[in-house]
């Protein structure tokens, strides 16, 4: 309707001044939205760390006592643990991702398409689900034992830094993989050929080529580090249960314990952001100076190395092994765990499989809840959040790639870089604090402890990452495509709809699915901001797991995972059915990178 109205609008051409005013008005509205979504909640919360009196949270205008407190005892341990774990995970995941990317994109290793799909699944899998799968598998009288495998010896080891590093490396792997893959795909064979022709052996050729994709590797390191630092799922489950505090969890405990200590939480939040910003800025700086995307009209398609039968089989087994550990074990553990009767309990009758826990899911439990309502709520949240995020991300991505080097582009870029570094838990606590301020709730909006507040926080959490995800594909669309449409008679909206939208459709779909699934399984913000008696699925599952019905909780987890996969399948199926063939021929590069 809006499109039709625009297309048939009377031919009154807008003046340059009108267009400029419209552009700047749009910019003001956009920044107002971003201030309310991200900037105001996070900055006001961070100020508390050194100046609690600004918001009547203490008597001092300026103090460093909370900084000292945050770096001592329990809180300090959490920060220290997060830093070394994140560094280890970043290095491990980039090494693994580089090997996988090379095998999948540059050799004839078996199942290449399957591994790419598996990587997407891994990207969508929340870390708390992975933890649950591992726990169910390894625990005494758990899923592995039900299959006749003794894992007793490993169980104790897993509940500690080793398990945390394994799960977080699995979670960081797809981020690193997609970045390194993009770098490798743009690296034509001519560089290697040139080195070989000029006398370099295989090793020296490799040494010559690696610096070309160094920006991609550095970028992958930065993103893997940032993702690990900001993870809450593992900190809340495995970290807490193994008495291995991590920064995001100690931040959460600072505000969830009584009395809540917002100032210490603010200092920890600042540490999390400060630790993440330098690698991200460094990565952005390197990428700007020396793009790893060496695509050009003259770059030939990468050549695949044809492995002989034996090495190919070994390479395929190695890739399968990585995916088995990262994705297979957690899924297998959770699925078997949900089917074993009295999981984790020594039963004199041996191991029995049952579907009882799946049936219990939709029955009211002792608490009077079933998974039906939380899962429905999570889906509704996912729908709204993914759609809202998609719209905002496209607008921001267009701003980010338009007028390179302009003031507006630089501000948007810096803002997005900073926002990517804000963990969900910081955003959640920031929202609790900011939207509960009497100044805001009395004079602006009163949405504290409501579903809209949770939705806004989830959108705010997803927008920076989603924008960066979109920015690549948006920048790949040559302006002349839209200009050609305009010159040949299409109005502004029709030009966008008929030229840009088809080229971005696949990226938009995958971006939407990514946000949708991440929202359904999101834990940090949901745990902090869910309104009373309106628990999303992830929170509901955690309370089942932690309190009285771990088997039902596991079954709920599996069901949520199945539901997520079903939505992905359905969306992809609909996309295939309703879009023209041409739409599906383009746009893969953005999704794959």
């Amino acid at each position: 309707m809006a499109i039709a109205a625009l297309e048939t609008a009377p031919p009154v051409p807008p003046s340059p001044a009108t267009n400029k005013r419209r552009g700047s008005l749009g910019g003001v509205v956009l920044w107002l939205v971003l201030i309310l979504l991200i900037i105001a909640p996070v900055t006001s919360f961070l100020i508390l760390g050194v100046s609690p009196r600004v918001f009547q949270q203490g008597s001092q205008w300026f103090t460093l006592s909370y900084v000292r407190q945050a770096f001592s005892s329990y809180f300090g341990r959490g920060i220290f643990n997060s830093l070394w774990v994140s560094t280890t995970v970043a290095i491990l995941s980039v090494c693994l991702a580089t090997a996988l990317a090379w095998l999948i994109h540059r050799t004839n290793v078996g199942g290449r398409r399957f591994w790419t799909v598996a990587m997407w699944l891994l990207l969508m899998m929340p870390t708390w689900m992975m933890t649950l799968g591992w726990t169910d598998l390894l625990q005494p009288f758990g899923a592995a034992q039900a299959l006749g495998v003794n894992t007793h010896w490993f169980y104790g080891e897993f509940f500690g830094p080793l398990g945390i590093v394994v799960v977080l490396t699995s979670a960081a792997l797809p981020f690193a993989y997609f970045i390194v893959s993009a770098g490798l795909q743009g690296l034509g064979p001519e560089y290697e050929d040139a080195a070989r022709i000029h006398g370099a052996g295989p090793l020296r050729s490799l040494r010559t080529i690696v610096p070309i994709i160094a920006p991609a590797l550095l970028s992958a390191l930065a993103i893997a580090f940032a993702e690990t630092m900001s993870d809450f799922g593992v900190a809340f489950t495995l970290g807490y249960h193994s008495n291995f505090p991590m920064a995001t969890y100690v931040l959460f405990s600072a505000i969830s314990n009584f009395p809540a200590n917002f100032s210490v939480a603010a200092v920890i939040a600042a540490v999390l952001i400060i630790a993440t910003i330098p690698p991200i800025i460094l990565q952005s700086h390197v990428m700007r100076k020396r793009s790893y995307a060496v695509f050009s009209g003259r770059t030939r398609a990468p050549r695949r190395r044809e492995l002989a039968r034996g090495p190919r089989a070994w390479a395929t087994v190695a890739v399968a092994g990585v995916f088995f550990v990262a994705l297979g074990v957690p899924i297998l553990g959770a699925v078997i765990g949900s089917l074993v009767k009295n999981l984790g309990i020594d039963s004199p009758n041996g191991v029995h499989f049952t579907l009882t826990y799946y049936m219990q899911i939709f029955r009211p439990s002792i608490q009077g809840d079933s998974l039906g309502a939380p899962l429905l709520l999570s889906n509704q949240l996912g729908l709204v959040v993914a759609t809202g995020t998609g719209i905002l991300a496209v607008i921001l991505a267009r701003r980010l790639v338009a007028n390179p080097g302009s003031w507006s582009q630089r501000v948007t870029d810096v803002f997005l870089l900073g926002s990517v570094a804000v963990p969900g838990v910081v955003l959640g606590v920031g929202y609790i604090f900011f939207y509960n301020l009497s100044f805001i709730s009395h004079n602006a909006v009163s949405i504290y402890k409501t579903l809209p507040l949770l939705m806004l926080a989830l959108v705010a959490n997803a927008v920076p990452g989603q924008t960066r995800f979109m920015a690549g594909p948006v920048s790949q669309i040559q302006p002349s495509l839209g200009e050609a449409a305009r010159v040949h008679g299409a109005g502004r909206m029709r030009a966008w709809r008929t030229t840009n939208l088809p080229l971005m459709s696949r990226v938009l779909l995958w971006g939407w699915l990514l946000t949708f699934t991440k929202t359904i399984a999101e834990l940090a913000i949901s745990q902090i901001l869910y309104p009373p008696s309106q628990e999303p699925a992830s929170v509901s599952i955690q309370s089942y797991l932690a309190n009285f019905a771990p088997n039902t909780g596991t079954a709920m987890t599996v069901l949520t995972l199945i539901e997520m996969l079903a939505v992905i399948g359905l969306a992809l199926g609909i996309y295939r059915l309703v879009t023209p063939n041409g739409w599906r021929r383009v746009g893969w590069s953005g999704v794959q990178s």
Partner: protein
């Protein structure tokens, strides 16, 4: 001049200016194009020709000035008509074919908003594909075509719109020499058959001379000459135009006498006491600080024993199919390039170089004329 149909529109630009931030890329450009004319805007990179074309298309908004297309003011004062309402078509340098649409759908795009019946649209589309010789590729996608085929699709799309003005943004610059020549002929033929007005930009003078009814030469955002190809070649108004449209050599000379209304006698710097006749279009400021510009067509080579001409030494020779292009050293630091001869003069050989006065011009070397 081509056959003008009622569809062809006149284009008039007056006092057109465009700045990007501090940078002025177009300054006070005024051009009037008659309906049905094939105008080529010629200039080096950064001369503002692309910006000028984009201003006519409505993709760029001029900072000042007026553009009138077919009697309608599309830019002027507070008026700015968006591109889709200007009734024109364009062939882009990078082709700008939509990768998600087949060849047929790309060509049919401008027709989708027309009031034509579906069958009539399809018929016209097929006809155009046939005319540009790609009907067998109708169901392919742009990435399955060669550069030349892609450019043919872009040409068919522009013709499909049946508008009165087609803009060409260096459409041949991404093609190899053979395809460029072939497509140049097709563009010239099909555009004139369609009877539309065309504005074509290029930095290639041979392309400009081959295509144009009128040529506008741009330099640093200013229009420096606007004339027929013949006049631009024979009577360049400035040293820049002379250089940009191809000279075999440029030498500082001293005017020693006059010959008729537009002729002078100049003393060559590399051959003491040797003078030749040359054309002088404008009044010179001084007789000393001037340059002689020599077109390749105004120089011929002869055996060393020949009475006329100045002495030269062949530095290089290249076979061009029809004969030989030579580079001839005519003195310390002075040489002439692209000197054609039907027979080959070997490298290192002495020759006599003869000048034809009608292809030699004398001008102030720094002189610039703005139209």
């Amino acid at each position: 001049m081509s056959v003008t149909t009622p569809r062809a529109v006149g284009v008039s630009m007056s006092a057109l200016g465009k700045t990007f931030g501090e940078k002025r890329v177009l300054e006070d450009v005024s051009i009037a194009v008659e309906p049905g004319t094939f105008l080529v805007l010629l200039g080096p990179s950064g001369s503002g020709k692309t910006t000028l074309l984009r201003c006519v298309a409505g993709i760029e908004r001029p900072s000042s000035g007026t553009i009138i297309i077919g009697g309608t003011v599309v830019v002027g004062g507070k008026t700015f008509v968006p591109p889709e309402r200007r009734r024109l078509a364009m062939v882009f340098q990078d082709y700008a074919l939509w990768p998600h649409l087949s060849v047929r759908k790309n060509v049919a795009y401008p027709l989708t908003t027309s009031s034509l019946e579906k069958s009539e649209r399809a018929g016209r589309c097929e006809d155009l594909l046939e005319r540009v010789g790609i009907s067998h590729l109708a169901d392919r996608y742009p990435n399955e075509l060669s550069g030349g085929e892609q450019q043919r699709v872009a040409l068919a799309r522009a013709l499909a719109a049946e508008v009165g003005l087609i803009l060409f943004d260096e459409p041949l610059s991404n093609l190899d020499a053979d395809r460029r020549e072939q497509l140049r002929i097709e563009i010239a033929t099909l555009t004139r058959e369609a009877g539309v007005t065309a504005i074509y930009i290029t930095h290639d003078q041979s392309e400009a001379f081959a295509l144009a009814d009128q040529i506008g030469v741009l330099n640093q955002g200013r229009l420096v000459q606007f004339d027929t190809p013949e006049n631009i070649y024979r009577h360049p108004h400035s040293a820049f135009v002379a250089r940009f449209t191809g000279v075999a050599g440029e030498f500082p000379v001293r005017v020693t006498g006059e010959r008729g209304e537009h002729g002078v006698v100049v003393e060559l710097p590399f051959s003491t006491g040797h003078s030749i006749e040359a054309s002088c279009i404008e009044r010179l400021k001084s007789r000393a600080d001037v340059s002689l510009f020599v077109r390749a067509s105004g120089v011929s080579l002869a055996e060393p024993a020949y009475d006329e001409g100045v002495r030269g030494l062949i530095r290089d020779v290249a076979f061009n199919g029809r004969g030989y292009d030579h580079v001839v050293d005519v003195g310390e630091g002075f040489s002439l390039t692209k000197i054609f001869a039907p027979t080959r003069f070997e490298r290192g050989r002495n020759v006599k170089v003869c000048f034809n006065p009608s292809a030699c011009f004398v001008m102030d070397s720094m002189r610039e004329v703005v139209k």
